[in-house]
């Protein structure tokens, strides 16, 4: 039964991808990207990757669509030219695809518990997580504690993207833009979306906080929560206008959030050194090493969530304030 599901979703995914490349209306391509992201998220869920499915749905189908639409509003909506060197590109691409398909016959059997990837270090992590960290979600334990240094690097990548977009687009409205009142109107005169939005936004925020703090017990964590909370503020900005969204969460607060996330993460790391352990060693944060690990993971996930929220919102405001 699962076999049919899997094959169906994957076939739909390939059809959507072909449609994305072949359409020349960019808005249509972006909408189809959202559909493709949701199909991939459903597939991840079938492959037992619950955390990854949540992240792909929140980030890929949600935030990515908003960012692309924001960029398309500032550039053109139609692709004007025909592709270049179509036959040569297609030949190269088809040859590469055939080579990869030929190579897939040598792969270990799908789902084999004795495959090299399953027997290398994964059993060590699955065995030691209850002993060292004692939280149910192994993915959060590995992400936050065993491989915490990688996650610190990732927070810095998100930070860099945020300040990069602010450098490029942060100057406010460009020359020849629409008058401010038109941009700031939002959906003011549409009653239904405003009322429904006002009912839903508190619950979306609550769900974001739930995902943030339950990352240790189920699928969730900082990245997904950051994307969900950013989505709720973006919804508010779309409904009530850019100006009111900026008065609720001003630019300075956003810059503070962008900076505070990595600061909190690095601060926890340095606190580990100050208290006598290594950098990002959480065992020394509390008298009981296991409790220390849990406290450390809680703090750094909060840092990740704050950072992702701030960066996504700053990027959205940078695109939205540019005007046309």
């Amino acid at each position: 039964m699962i076999v049919i599901f899997g094959i169906f979703l994957l076939t739909l995914l390939v059809i959507t991808a072909i449609a994305i490349v072949r359409t020349d209306n960019l808005f249509v391509a972006v909408m189809l990207m959202g559909i493709a992201s949701l199909l991939i998220a459903a597939n991840f869920f079938l492959l037992d990757a619950a955390d990854v499915a949540l992240t792909e749905a929140a980030v890929g189908a949600g935030i990515s669509t908003v960012l692309f639409l924001g960029a398309l509003a500032l550039t053109s909506e139609r692709e004007r030219a025909k592709s270049s060197n179509r036959l040569l590109s297609f030949a190269v691409v088809a040859a590469a695809a055939l080579i990869i398909i030929y190579a897939t016959f040598d792969k270990p059997r799908f789902g084999d518990p004795e495959a090299p990837v399953q027997t290398h270090v994964a059993p060590w992590y699955l065995e030691k997580t209850p002993e060292y960290i004692d939280i149910p979600n192994v993915v959060t334990a590995v992400l936050g504690s065993f491989r915490g240094y990688d996650t610190l690097g990732e927070v810095f990548v998100v930070f860099t993207a945020g300040i990069g977009v602010l450098f490029l687009l942060g100057g406010g409205a460009a020359a020849g833009s629409l008058p401010q009142e038109k941009i700031n109107e939002g959906l003011r005169h549409h009653l239904i979306p405003r009322v429904v939005g006002r009912v839903l936004i508190p619950f979306i925020l609550l769900f974001g906080l739930y995902v943030q703090f339950h990352g240790e017990y189920g699928p969730g964590g900082g990245f997904q929560a950051g994307a969900i909370i950013a989505a709720s503020v973006i919804l508010f900005a779309l409904l009530e206008g850019e100006q009111r969204a900026l008065s609720v969460l001003p630019e300075r607060a956003l810059l503070g959030l962008i900076a505070f996330g990595p600061l909190l993460y690095g601060g926890v790391g340095i606190a580990g050194i100050v208290l006598g352990g290594n950098f990002l060693d959480y065992s020394v944060l509390s008298s009981d090493p296991v409790k220390g690990q849990q406290l450390g993971i809680l703090l750094i996930e909060a840092g990740v969530g704050i950072s992702v929220t701030g960066v996504l919102l700053a990027i959205f405001h940078a695109f939205a304030a540019r005007g046309r």
Binding site: L187, H190, I192, P193, V196, G197, V199, L200, F203
Partner: protein, 109 residues
């Protein structure tokens, strides 16, 4: 008792699947944007309610059922809103419905 719940949830899931199929066929075959949206709304309302009710019967009295009820409420609140936003955006962009009677025809009647 078990068999009854199983059969009932089978029936609900099949009906839900049929609703989604009908919505999909309607979205393809209808002549106009507004009629297509109307057909697709069958998926959001009947399809969602029937499929989620079928799954709720399988989950029994547990936390999962409450989460499913929350999902259903969220879907029922947001899908009509997004249909409204889509229709009003189309109207603002200048797409008129196919069934609209032009002014001169109205006067000559």
């Amino acid at each position: 008792m078990e068999a009854l719940i199983d059969t009932l949830s089978w029936v609900l899931l099949t009906l839900g699947g049929l609703s989604v199929l009908i919505g999909g066929i309607g979205a393809l075959r209808m002549p106009d944007l507004y009629t297509r949206m109307h057909a697709a709304s069958v998926t959001d309302s009947m399809g969602a309610i029937l499929v989620l009710a079928g799954i709720m019967l399988q989950a029994g009295w547990s936390l999962a059922t409450i989460k499913l009820i929350a999902i259903l409420l969220f879907l029922l609140l947001t899908s009509p809103t997004s249909s409204y936003a889509l229709a009003s955006a189309a109207l603002l962009a200048g797409k008129r419905p196919l069934a609209e009677i032009p002014q001169d025809q109205e006067e000559s009647k």
